[in-house]
């Protein structure tokens, strides 16, 4: 099965490892990815906070390219890109004038046909059909993860139907269960890490991340699992500052869901680029004899 793939800027830069893992893991599950041609930045929250027109128009160009690709669906692993593309598609579907104004500037016009999928949405059917467990035969014994969804996997500024529970999503738990891992219950799975505040309002972001980190440690987790590159980078790169701020000396690796699935599939650490974390992510896997 071939589907469209929108990596977004982050997966081509600081979270390149997520791009590599996504291709590896989905490929193994029989999902071939065709990267969208000449895609552009979705504008992320910077556009949505400062320019209502660009916030729709930037993702729209990608939607136009996707509609012209002949593919019926497209996977977007980055939560920010996923949410902005969904919002743009929904706004243009209900506002003909806006759609016409944007289409006027585009060589590939937005029709609104492409189905936008999160990385969880494309993998869950594989877990339910048993294919995932068939390919990922290594049981990840000893792993005690908390699943961290963050904001933009389930919450949108418009009323867009969510394919998971908004307050208590289960997508990652379903995938982990197929790998023989039971994720821990906790209270901060959809809380905000502060996103760009980590750079432009650090004190606020550290306080937000501290609450998330404290609960994860208090529950006895030995790692985080996430799908969002922003959450991953923040919880990983700033964990020393966060730990110092709340007086916790433990450090928890912050895995992308694709990393754990990749390990369960027996893929090597180097190939999955698990050695590119800020908080060491290889040590725990070695300690638990998983690699």
């Amino acid at each position: 099965m071939e589907i469209g793939y929108f990596p977004g800027c982050t997966l081509h830069a600081s979270s390149r490892l997520y791009d590599v893992q996504t291709k590896e893991v989905l490929g193994e599950l029989g999902i071939d990815l065709r990267e969208l041609e000449d895609w552009n930045c979705c504008g992320a929250t910077s556009a949505s906070k400062t320019d209502d027109f660009l916030a729709i128009a930037l993702p729209a160009r990608n939607l136009g390219i996707a509609d012209a690709s002949g593919l019926s669906e497209m996977v977007i692993p980055c939560s920010a890109c996923y949410s902005r593309m969904l919002v743009a598609q929904s706004r243009m579907a209900s506002n003909e004038k806006l759609k016409a104004e944007i289409n006027e500037e585009l060589s590939e016009k937005v029709k609104g046909d492409i189905k936008i999928r999160s990385i969880l949405e494309v993998m869950i059917p594989k877990a339910e059909s048993g294919e995932l467990a068939e390919k990922a035969t290594k049981k990840l014994k000893g792993l005690k993860p908390v699943c961290y969804y963050g904001c933009l996997q389930t919450r949108f500024p418009l009323d867009i139907p969510v394919p998971d529970d908004v307050e208590n999503p289960q997508g990652m738990e379903i995938l982990l269960k197929a790998l023989g891992v039971k994720a821990l219950d906790w209270s901060y799975k959809t809380d905000c890490c502060g996103a760009s505040a980590a750079v432009n309002d650090a004190d606020t972001a550290i306080r937000l991340m501290s609450r998330i980190f404290k609960d994860a440690v208090a529950r006895g987790a030995n790692c985080f699992v996430t799908t969002c590159p922003m959450c991953q980078l923040n919880m990983d790169a700033y964990q020393n500052d966060v730990g110092e701020a709340c007086g916790i000396s433990e450090r928890l690796p912050v895995y992308f869901i694709t990393e754990l699935i990749g390990v369960a599939m027996g893929k090597p650490v180097k190939e999955l680029q698990i050695d590119r974390h800020f908080v060491d992510a290889v040590g725990l896997l070695k300690e638990l004899d998983l690699i």
Binding site: C9, H12, F53, R61, P157, G194
Partner: protein, 212 residues
């Protein structure tokens, strides 16, 4: 901290309310002050007395000056928790986004200059290449910060910013998270046209209704 008594400005209240409602697409008058938004707001502890419900109250009372410039407008992370939990489906994060844009149009100095500089640098880099270049973006952002700090002779801020960004940069390089490849979109002229159209809309103050 207790909230100051709100003053009702009948002449300006209606037009301000209508503008914010239309631009944000939010039915502000449906708010019955249950404060579920305030209870769930992750930056609620950081924004003094301005919680989402109080921001709505300011708009209803026509307190334009405070509504356009307060900590919630600048610290809101657009996590959309308030709107997801609102029983009347008011997405207050959309309201903070709208107010941020209106305050810029009225040339009100941003309460959090770094936040404003961040988003400006992000969209500048995106316009330049069509994709965000993390190095260019952070460079633009830091240049703006440095000038601001030098102008205000704020050496402490300059020092702290330098230390934290160097630390992050070094850690990113060490962990191979830094990428130096420049990716440029072939259809950049389309991106430029979209930016031009956006600017025209801002300059002509064309309101883009966020409804339906």
């Amino acid at each position: 901290m207790t909230a100051p008594v709100l003053k009702f400005e009948s002449e300006t209240a209606q037009s301000f309310l209508e503008e914010v409602m239309s631009r944000s697409g939010q039915n502000i008058i449906a708010c019955y002050q249950c404060r579920r938004c305030a209870a769930g707001c992750p930056v609620g502890e950081e924004t003094g007395y301005v919680t989402p419900d109080r921001l709505i109250r300011m708009i209803l009372f026509g307190d334009r000056e405070k509504a356009l410039s307060n900590d919630l407008v600048w610290k809101c992370t657009s996590c959309y928790t308030c709107g997801t939990r609102c029983p009347n489906e008011i997405q207050t994060a959309r309201i903070t986004e709208t107010l941020k844009q209106m305050s810029k149009e009225e040339h009100i100095a941003p309460l959090a200059p770094k936040v404003a500089a961040f988003h400006h640098a992000f969209l500048t880099s995106t316009r330049h290449l069509g994709r965000l270049n993390e190095l260019e973006f952070m460079g633009l952002y830091e240049i703006k910060n440095t000038f601001k700090d030098l102008w205000h002779l704020n050496f402490k801020s300059l020092y702290n910013e330098g230390i934290s960004q160097t630390k992050l940069g070094l850690a990113m390089t060490k962990n191979k998270r830094m990428h130096f490849l420049i990716e440029k979109v072939k259809g950049l002229s389309e991106i430029k046209r979209l930016y031009k159209k956006a600017k025209k809309k801002r300059d002509s103050k064309e309101i883009l209704p966020d409804q339906g």
